[in-house]
């Protein structure tokens, strides 16, 4: 009966070295308030000066999503009091953002959908209020205050949590491809607000929306949206109406709740910041940035399919993460490895272990070089893929060197046909009953024979040759 309409506002911390309006460092994890300079603290008399790199990064993003880059974008002040907002206003772009429009494609179950962007604008992050350090007081750390952000605002074009998550993942992947953010969700470098409303099926009028603030994982986005949809549907089913409000998703309880402090209608009194001037962006600068753009996910996807003959499914997985796609290509570089086989290995073996150990590509214990060595040994049939999997696990778990493992343990695939012939003959001789059954049509028994030979060779026999020999010899 209800259709949900979802729009996302994504806050992406840009990985500049210094803050958006001050020369203080943006490094994460410094002791409290040691990276908040006079400007970040809003000391009397200080003034903001815009960081060039933040502007360039915003333009990069705009180019990547096909937006219009606006000349003369304006910084405004958003006025409200909060202890982690030192000046009593946040410098943000309001009427004229730097990036306008744009689009992002999402693919779900093979179906493509375009999500349009409204805008992306530059702004400064606030500091942090810590409420659980003291019994009756809150502690304020302003190290984060002034960290550059782009806020990416989508049109309300997503219909369910799955689409929203896919869109979010694509933006996440994109900002990492562009190298403009580390996208670290645990550290808050990438977080989102979701606007959710329900409307009658088929209706074009939007319902009243609720905004869920500061969701910082893909999983939470999914459950927060689903819960909010359920909550609103229940209200509407009762015949009541949804209240426009800001809600907070509580992952520990898996529910959204109203934020009391934000209930009072806020009047932010936006006005152009008189300390900052319109940002002029020349066509030359845009062209220069365009000519230095890295390969983006969509282009890489097409290239992977054409160049490596991979399936679309495999490609999407590999390309979703810039570093993973680079890991894949590093393995193939200067080698004769089969791209499909390499892709399969990454998708099945590598990603399985990565998931189990919660590691991202940059923290993989197995370098692309070592994996290349291992896979080459499979390709030239020095070791079997079964052996390779065992070796790989040891490489991953204990950071062992694949050369050492293979050599020290004398791991070698037996591909010598004479040697294998003898073993196969023996097996056939000792299992005449099974031979008869096989010859009378029980093809499945081939596996039994292969297993016996492998057992005899302690797993080192070349399965391809064994298969071949068995099939020949078992013929009547």
């Amino acid at each position: 009966m209800w259709e949900s309409v979802i729009g996302l506002e994504i806050h992406v911390q840009l990985n500049t070295k210094s803050k958006i309006f001050s020369p203080a460092s943006t490094n994460f994890g410094a002791p409290q308030n040691t990276q908040a300079c006079a400007i970040d603290l809003g000391m009397p008399g200080v003034l903001p000066v815009l960081n060039e790199e933040a502007v360039i990064m915003a333009i990069k993003f705009g180019i990547a999503v096909g937006s219009e880059i606006l000349d003369n974008s304006i910084f405004a002040r958003k006025n409200y009091f909060y202890p982690d907002l030192p000046k009593g206003y946040q410098i943000s772009q309001y009427e004229i953002p730097i990036v306008s429009g744009g689009a992002m494609e999402i693919i779900i179950n093979g179906k493509s959908k375009i999500i349009h962007l409204t805008r992306a604008h530059l702004e400064e992050d606030a500091g942090k209020s810590i409420h659980d350090l003291y019994p009756n007081e809150s502690a304020i750390d302003l190290n984060r205050a002034g960290t550059p952000l782009i806020e990416i605002v989508s049109e309300p074009e997503m219909e369910n949590a799955e689409e929203a998550v896919q869109y979010l993942k694509n933006i996440h992947s994109l900002v990492r491809y562009l190298g403009i953010s580390d996208g670290n969700m645990q550290e808050g470098s990438f977080r989102c607000d979701a606007n959710i409303s329900l409307k009658k099926k088929g209706s074009t009028t939007l319902g009243t929306r609720a905004e869920i603030k500061n969701i910082n994982s893909f999983k939470y986005v999914e459950s927060a949206i689903n819960h909010e949809i359920e909550r609103q549907a229940a209200i509407l089913d009762r015949g009541d109406s949804v209240v426009q409000e800001t809600r907070l998703y509580d992952p520990s309880k898996d529910e959204t709740r109203s934020m009391r402090s934000k209930v009072e209608a806020n009047d932010y009194r936006y006005f152009p910041d008189p300390d900052l001037l319109p940002v002029s962006i020349s066509q030359e600068l845009i062209e220069e940035i365009k000519s230095n753009m890295p390969e983006l996910p969509s282009a890489k996807k097409t290239r992977f399919i054409n160049q490596y003959g991979l399936s679309e499914y495999d490609t999407i997985i590999l390309v979703s993460d810039r570093e993973l796609s680079e890991y894949f290509e590093n393995i193939l570089k200067d080698s004769d490895l089969n791209p499909k086989m390499t892709a399969n290995w990454i998708i099945t073996e590598v990603l399985a272990l990565a998931k189990k150990t919660y590691l991202s590509v940059k923290d993989y214990p197995v370098s692309s070089e070592d994996l290349k060595y291992l896979l080459s040994n499979v390709t030239n049939e020095t070791i079997s893929s079964k052996q390779a999997k065992d070796v790989f696990e040891r490489m991953w778990d204990n950071k062992e060197n694949p050369r050492d493992i293979i050599e020290n343990e004398g791991m070698k695939q037996i591909s010598d046909v004479d040697e294998l012939n003898k073993i196969v003959d023996n097996i056939i001789k000792n299992n005449y009953k099974s031979v008869e059954e096989y010859q009378s049509g029980k093809d499945k028994l081939l596996g039994f024979f292969v297993g016996q030979v492998m057992k005899e060779t302690q797993g080192q026999g070349n399965p391809k040759i064994i298969n071949q020999l068995l099939k020949e010899k078992l013929k009547k």
Binding site: T16, K17, S18, S22, P23, A24, S25, P31, Q32, N33, T34, Q35, A36, C37, A38, L41, M43, V49, L50, N51, E52, E53, A54, V55, N79, F81, P83, S129, I130, H131, L133, Y134, N136, E137, S138, A139, I140, D141, L142, L248, M259, R260, S261, D267, R269, P272, P274, L276, L277, P278, V279, S280
Partner: protein, 93 residues
Amino acid sequence: MNKETIIKISDLAKIDIKDDQIDDILTSLEKILNLVDEMNSVNTDNVTPMSHPLNLKQELRKDIVGASDERELFQKNNIHTDNGYYIVPKIID
């Protein structure tokens, strides 16, 4: 402008106004607004608003870290700090 407006804006501005002051403030703000309303004697329909006296463009800063840790110096102006944190009454969201 009325009393409710005064209460609303004083809350936005975080200025405490005692009940017995509201009338005085209302009167003086209304006088100022009367003065301000003289602006309406000029038609400005086709005028672009001016936020800056000079027609300048924003200068950009190179992305260089140029501030060191001066926490101790900055916090000398504040006795309500602990372990490098600024301390405020507990905030309940």
